[in-house]
Symmetry: C2
């Protein structure tokens, strides 16, 4: 049984800010990162919670992020908002692009937010939820590090390349999914390695291309995509859309740049936002979506993100649970208050 | 060994036009359908080739399509082109929207083509290729008939909901994928039923929700999505984007409308087009994409659609192969020339 602390958002925020400021991030960057990792911890996403503060610090120490970066809007064109993150962390870049993207989607029906040259460590659902809170439908794609072989291959060529989508629901938690196109998330692979547990079958191959359930062998070989050739095609689409199309790095380039530092990946991000009110009648589209959700839930199937929302409700009541050992590890990175 | 005829595109075109005109379609509709089914036959997509002429005729006879429909552009807004198909067949509606969508994507970077109330029987890749031929990146989504259970469920709530994507390659066949989000295509399920072959595992459940490989049992129960909960989430996204968002039917509504007629589904379609030249530097994005394709192919993995392109090359040399029995079945639907 893990020894857990239950903390207020304010206590966690103060810890996160202290660590990140101490490692050279300004108030704006530290604040944006803190909001994202606390949201993850609140939702019991251990792999995208305050644990990521350790990643941020490692990335800073490895010199793989521009701590002085000032993400700025650059010349967008048409339905595209472009934020140059200048090799800084992604969360602030997203926050800077959020209002312009919202305006664009409301005016044009669709907007694209292109973030270039960001160091990326977060889940995509916080960004998706920021858009669904504004009544927008959202789709987000990013490359990562090239750890994943294409279907029929044996060598890494693709990232874990997440796809996230959100649909706003009035008065309810939004419909949101956010998953890696790899069969297993990199964080889960890492957890299996640490615990010595074998992987489920179908997650990876060893360096000779043979199916393997050994985490170390898969790390030396390649991870596989979910869903065979279909997942592989989707992962390729993520590289093309959120890499080649927007003029930013592929997952292979991000991994080359990392050069063994094990820092967070550096690449771009593409976020599309759609305004149902421009596409048609919002009330009608809401009603139809609810019919679908009802058809899914009434047969005992679950909508995605329900586990997160349940954890969120728990955190509101009991405080945010953080493993004591993790808390202490983070605390050790900060100077005493 | 199936007895095959090898026909010129002109001979097939003349047959298709004769049948479709005879069943009440005007020159424009018959022409658009003919182009799509001949492309499918040429690429050896038997389930989306001239076989679909039989579907069209069945749908016409069932009174489930408006043969007099004149698809027309209606008030689009912002980055959206809208075509009202008026319950006619989809291919002409797409052709009518193609130029405006292209203009929009070139001006704004992104355009959406919304087709509403179309009777849909075709693969999506002909539409994707029409856009990649113009140098655009394309993503297309449609619902279908509700035959597919969500992950964790046992009753149909989703369609086979294809997702198709294309990336233009200069001087080469485009990168294109087009797949059902169901574990098996409906046409393949039908082929298994006819041949009495068991399905691969994981394709469906019987009426009691138990995993089954019996095509008849799955038809009475439900098909499953590919890739477990991830495929199920993507399929749900297709319903939301190409149904609820655009103000058109869900797959469940399409099936209700069908009322046992076994006609082609009736719903909407969402096609997004992206112009790399507006997003950034086309040459750079092309070069980066080619780096990725090379990383995939150099390890012996295949890009999607290669089987189609090989068949296309064969058809150019040898004529288009059509099973003799199918040819005769289609011919029997036409008055003698």
């Amino acid at each position: 049984m893990t020894d857990m602390l239950h903390l207020s958002p304010e206590a966690l925020e103060s810890l996160s800010m202290r660590v990140l400021r101490h490692h050279g991030l300004d108030e704006a960057h530290a604040g944006a990162i803190t909001r994202v990792v606390i949201a993850g911890q609140r939702d019991d996403c251990q792999s995208h919670g305050v644990y990521r503060i350790l990643d941020c610090v490692r990335t800073i120490r490895a010199g793989k992020v521009n701590t002085a970066a000032q993400p700025r809007l650059v010349d967008g064109a048409g339905s595209i908002v472009r934020v140059e993150a200048d090799f800084g962390f992604a969360p602030l870049a997203f926050e800077r692009g959020l209002d312009p993207l919202t305006h664009l989607a409301r005016r044009q029906g669709i907007g694209a937010l292109v973030i270039r040259h960001c160091v990326h460590f977060s889940a995509l659902w916080p960004e998706i939820e920021a858009l669904t809170e504004r009544g927008l439908v959202a789709l987000a794609l990013t490359p990562s590090h090239a750890w994943v072989a294409p279907a029929g291959g044996r060598r890494p060529a693709l990232g874990t390349n997440p796809i996230a989508f959100g649909w706003p629901r009035s008065g309810r938690d939004p419909y949101v999914f956010d998953f890696a196109t790899s069969a297993i998330a990199r964080g889960d692979l890492e957890l299996h390695r640490r615990s010595g547990q074998p992987l489920p079958t179908g997650c990876g191959v060893d360096a000779e291309g043979r199916p393997s359930t050994d985490p170390l062998a898969v790390m030396a070989g390649a991870m596989l995509t979910f869903g065979g050739h279909k997942g592989s095609a989707l992962s390729t689409m993520v590289e093309l859309m959120a890499g080649a199309l927007i003029g930013d790095w592929l997952s292979s380039e991000s991994l080359d740049h990392d050069a063994g530092a094990k820092a967070s990946p550096c690449h771009g991000e593409l976020i599309l936002a759609f305004d149902p009110a421009v596409f048609g009648d919002s009330a009608e589209s809401q009603a139809r979506a609810e019919t679908l959700f009802e058809a899914i839930e009434s047969q005992g199937a679950r909508l995605p993100s329900q586990r997160r929302y349940a954890a969120r409700a728990r955190s509101r009541e009991q405080g945010i649970a953080v493993p004591r050992a993790l808390y202490q590890e983070i605390q050790a990175l900060a100077p005493d208050a």
